[in-house]
């Protein structure tokens, strides 16, 4: 029997190898493509001028390609989303893993899963039609499209990844730890926050990094609520992120402008690579 199966096994092995190989090829191809198409503009504009220039006027008669406003906006926007999203997400995860009665937990979990499944364009659309006018009314601004709106939308969008990864980490804490804590006379809540959460800390950290990755790479929802003007970021001004800088001008771009958009994509790519490296380090530490 074994003898007969062997050719099939070889074929299947090859097939699996090819499938695995495809992912590697795509990553390599995208990396190389981005580097090759992103470098010329940086060379022409100058690295310092490009990264630290504060003025972006790509189609002006004397164009200027400084992406510092985009970089700062992306960092501020992501940081804001983390500040708002992490406490809520973390508490929800603790609630789901340790406190909620099973039926309620199932209902909440379903809602979280649905939240994860909503396409980003829907977040953007609702943000644009509901959140932006609401922010305008609430803060008496001339226009609501701002960094603030983008932060709120991003905070909601990163909730599902934070909740589900943190919850998994909390559930993986060995029961003995908690039982020991309870036996020593700690209350349930004390046990959760003094024992379970520290034991799951690397998993929770990983969930935050995952949230950062999601927030910094989001384009569609942000483009609809942030206003997209290349201002230096402030909370209630119209701003443009790294992602939206590429997305909003690509369709008509030409020449150096187009090359500069590739360079922005390269910068964004490096940011995300960095975040992935951090994530992998955290996950490895969790295993070890």
């Amino acid at each position: 029997m074994k003898q007969k199966l062997r050719p099939l096994e070889v074929v299947m092995n090859l097939l699996f190898f090819l499938c695995g190989f495809i992912a590697v090829v795509f990553v390599l191809f995208i990396s190389i493509y981005l580097i090759i198409s992103g470098l010329p503009a940086i060379k022409e504009i100058g690295l310092v001028e490009f990264l630290f220039g504060t003025k972006w006027a790509s189609t002006a008669s004397e164009p200027s390609f400084g992406i510092l406003p985009f970089i700062l906006t992306s960092i501020y926007g992501t940081a804001g989303a983390i500040v708002l999203g992490v406490p809520v997400g973390f508490m929800t995860a603790v609630f789901l893993a340790k406190i909620a009665p099973p039926k309620l937990a199932t209902a909440v979990r379903t809602a979280v899963d649905l939240l994860a499944g909503i396409p980003s364009v829907v977040y953007g659309l609702i943000g644009m039609m509901v959140l932006v006018p609401a922010v305008r009314e609430l803060f008496h601004l001339p226009d609501g499209a701002s960094l603030f709106c983008a932060i709120i939308v991003l905070a909601i969008m990163i909730l599902p990844s934070i909740i589900s990864v943190s919850e998994t980490a909390l559930k993986a804490v060995p029961k003995e730890y908690e039982e020991a804590s309870l036996a020593l006379g700690a209350t349930h809540i004390e046990t959760v926050f003094r024992v379970s959460v520290p034991a799951a800390s690397s998993g929770i950290a990983a969930s935050i990094v995952l949230g950062i990755g999601r927030a910094i790479g989001e384009a569609m929802a942000v483009i609809m609520v942030a206003g997209n003007v290349a201002n230096m970021p402030s909370l209630f001004s119209s701003v443009r992120f790294l992602t939206t800088a590429v997305a909003s001008e690509m369709s008509y771009a030409s020449g150096l402008q187009r090359q500069a958009l590739f360079s922005i994509a390269l910068v964004l790519f490096l940011f995300i690579m960095l975040i992935n490296v951090i994530l992998n380090t955290l996950l490895k530490r969790k295993k070890g």
Binding site: T59, S61, P142, D143, S248, S251, Y252
Partner: protein, 293 residues
């Protein structure tokens, strides 16, 4: 990752769907007028035997959507002719017609006196409506006032006869043809102070519709009831006022042809067809006002 892949696949499917939709629409509109206008088509049909060759067009990025639908539909008229379009800007389009690198140059402005050796044929006119929220009491502005609102010289609506509220100027992203048209005609190139730069006409309209203090610009054909198109110097933006030239914020979409070299048969056929009544519906569909009767 999975979600992204799925999103990509879905958007690809959407694109295919849209393309299919376009193709269907074009076939319809390309066929119907030829049935309705026997005078032009019958005289042409015997003459236009199946041509072949490549027609190179180059120039204005504003004309991209008009050229896109013309090229798409021309495939039905002359399947053997391939029309290519490169968006490089009106100036480059005129130069390419002068030095012969393109059969047809495309310019979204009229020729200047020093641009010699070429002639222009107006294919369409592009009217840009200035839109405000329906709640805004301002109903008429001069081109100069519009320019002041756009550059931030006037920041409060009360200065132009409106409520005491801050002006929110909403426009399109850099590189957009509508933005280029608006800024060129109002003389505000590179000086506009945008509060919001959106990537489609629909978004501009939606934003103006939801913000009582907003002002924006949009292609005439895209304006709907959710916003108020103001009169410019007392002239309402309509197809008629754009055609007779009384509406100020408009420009010509021109084909630029060399005076010295003869057009190839294929290019000649394309120019004749694009300026005929057959193409009028397509031009209107792409957001411009056709010139042909």
């Amino acid at each position: 990752m999975k979600k992204r892949t799925l999103a990509l696949m879905l958007s690809a499917a959407l694109c295919v769907g849209m393309l299919a939709g376009c193709g269907g629409g074009n076939t319809g509109s390309a066929n119907t007028p030829s049935g309705n206008t026997p005078a032009t088509t019958e005289s042409e049909t015997p003459a236009t035997t199946q041509l072949s060759g490549t027609v190179v067009t180059n120039g204005s990025t504003s004309m991209e959507s008009v050229m896109g639908s013309l090229i798409e539909a021309f495939k039905e008229v002359q399947p053997g002719v391939q029309v290519q379009y490169t968006g490089s800007g009106s100036g480059a389009g005129i130069t390419s017609a002068q030095d012969g690198t393109a059969d047809i140059g495309l310019a979204s402005r009229d020729l200047k006196d020093d641009e010699t050796g070429v002639k222009q044929i107006t294919v369409a006119k592009d009217g840009i409506a200035i839109i405000v929220n329906p709640q805004n009491p301002v109903a008429d502005l001069t081109v100069e006032q519009i320019a002041q609102l756009a550059t931030g010289e006037v920041t409060n609506w009360s200065e132009v006869g409106g409520n005491d509220a801050e002006v929110v100027f909403i426009g399109r992203e850099a590189g957009s043809g509508t933005r280029d048209g608006f800024e060129t005609i109002t003389g505000t190139t590179d000086n506009c102070k945008y509060q919001n730069e959106l990537t489609s006409t629909g978004e501009v309209i939606a934003n103006v519709a939801s913000n009582p203090n907003a002002i924006g610009y949009a292609s005439l054909s895209a304006v709907d009831d959710t916003v108020k198109a103001i009169t410019v110097g007392g002239v309402a933006p309509t197809e008629e006022t754009v055609l007779d030239g009384t509406y100020a914020i408009q420009r010509n979409f021109n084909f630029i042809l060399s005076e010295s070299t003869e057009l190839s048969d294929a290019a000649q056929a394309f120019v004749e067809w694009a300026t005929s009544a057959d193409a009028a519906d397509l031009i209107a569909g792409a957001g411009a006002v056709p010139v042909a009767e």
